[in-house]
């Protein structure tokens, strides 16, 4: 470095006096004459000014994140992380569902559908049903038993878990109706006939208990002067079906 040769020149005399400088002296010293070491110093200051300017006047890149506090950034990051976890879990669930549906479970799905179909066929009366059940005979020569009593009996049997019920000639399904006519009680427009026979498939003892409760169907029939007789049957068949709707 050629500034070696100006150790005492260049406007920077050695510390000849330890006396405190006064202000005018300092200003005098600041106004040096240009020389090579001064140029180096000037260059350094230029670099400093450049760096400071660059650091302060950043070409605005996303001030939102730059000026956000650390706590806010952490909060934002946490939110994003938890949201990602939720979405990941959702994606995993849907992927598993897709895999189950694609892989082999068509057999299971079909079997489940068939089970539901059988149950619905029983409920809608489109298929014959056999099994243990309760058989009821109501002898009513004076025609005191009207539709309301029959309806009560059907409701009680349903409550007791009867899968299928036949009243007289008709299978009782969801849209069956009972009425009174000159020929006696009618079900779905057909006379029930005498004596009135009701057959119900279900747990026999439960059905019998439902009929025999105090103030229930049996009592109601008897107070009207009719004869109520019920017998459980370990195996009976209701073969009457309702034609399947063509809808």
């Amino acid at each position: 470095m050629p500034d070696e040769d100006t150790p005492s020149g260049g406007g920077a005399p050695p510390a000849d006096t330890a006396a405190p400088a006064d202000v005018r002296d300092v200003w005098h010293r600041l106004a040096f004459q240009p020389s090579r070491p001064h140029l180096v110093i000037g260059l350094l200051f230029a670099v400093l000014g450049l760096l400071a300017t660059v650091a302060i006047v950043r070409p605005g890149t996303d001030d939102r994140w730059r000026t956000a506090r650390t706590e806010d950034l952490v909060q934002i990051l946490d939110d994003l992380t938890s949201r990602q976890q939720r979405l990941d879990a959702e994606a995993a669930r849907l992927t598993g569902l897709q895999r189950d549906l694609e892989a082999g479970s068509t057999v299971e799905a079909a079997a489940e559908a068939r089970r539901r179909l059988a149950a619905l066929q029983v409920l809608t009366g489109t298929t014959p049903v056999s099994g243990p059940g309760l058989s009821i005979v109501i002898s009513d020569p004076t025609r005191q038993v009207d539709a309301s009593v029959v309806l009560d009996a059907v409701q009680e049997l349903r409550d007791a878990g009867a899968e299928a019920i036949q009243v007289g000639p008709a299978r009782v399904v969801v849209d069956s109706w009972f009425g009174d006519s000159a020929d006696g009680v009618v079900v779905d427009g057909q006379p029930v006939g005498t004596p009135l026979r009701i057959q119900a498939i279900g747990d026999p003892s439960t059905l019998a208990t439902a009929m025999g409760i105090p103030g229930g169907v049996a009592d109601s029939v008897r107070t009207r002067g009719a004869v109520f007789a019920a017998s459980t049957d370990p195996s009976m068949t209701i073969s009457v079906t309702v034609p399947e709707s063509s809808e």
């Binding site: 500034d3 300092v26 010293r29 110093i41 450049l50 660059v54």
Partner: protein, 110 residues
Amino acid sequence: MIAVIGLLAGIALGLLWHPVVPVWAEPYLPIAIVAAMDAVVGGIRALIERRFDERIFVISFLSNVLIAAFLVFLGDQLGVGAQISTGVVVVLAMRIFANAAAIRRLLFRA
């Protein structure tokens, strides 16, 4: 005087040119500036005490900047970049304040 001219020239250059700082250099920029300011304030104090030497100033300026940048680099490598940056800035700021206090005493006797 030439220092002031250089400073103004650098500021003007920065304002007009808008240089883009590389991402790897961003952590070093503030540290380098503070280190350079430390050297500048030390130089002013030496000037007032009449023992200013250009060679010492230039060397201290450059070495301050380089050492500060190296410390931050080292801290980054060790995983304590933020802490060491804070430490460097604190130490340099303390030196700046000490030198500024000395300048104040020398100039204003206060």
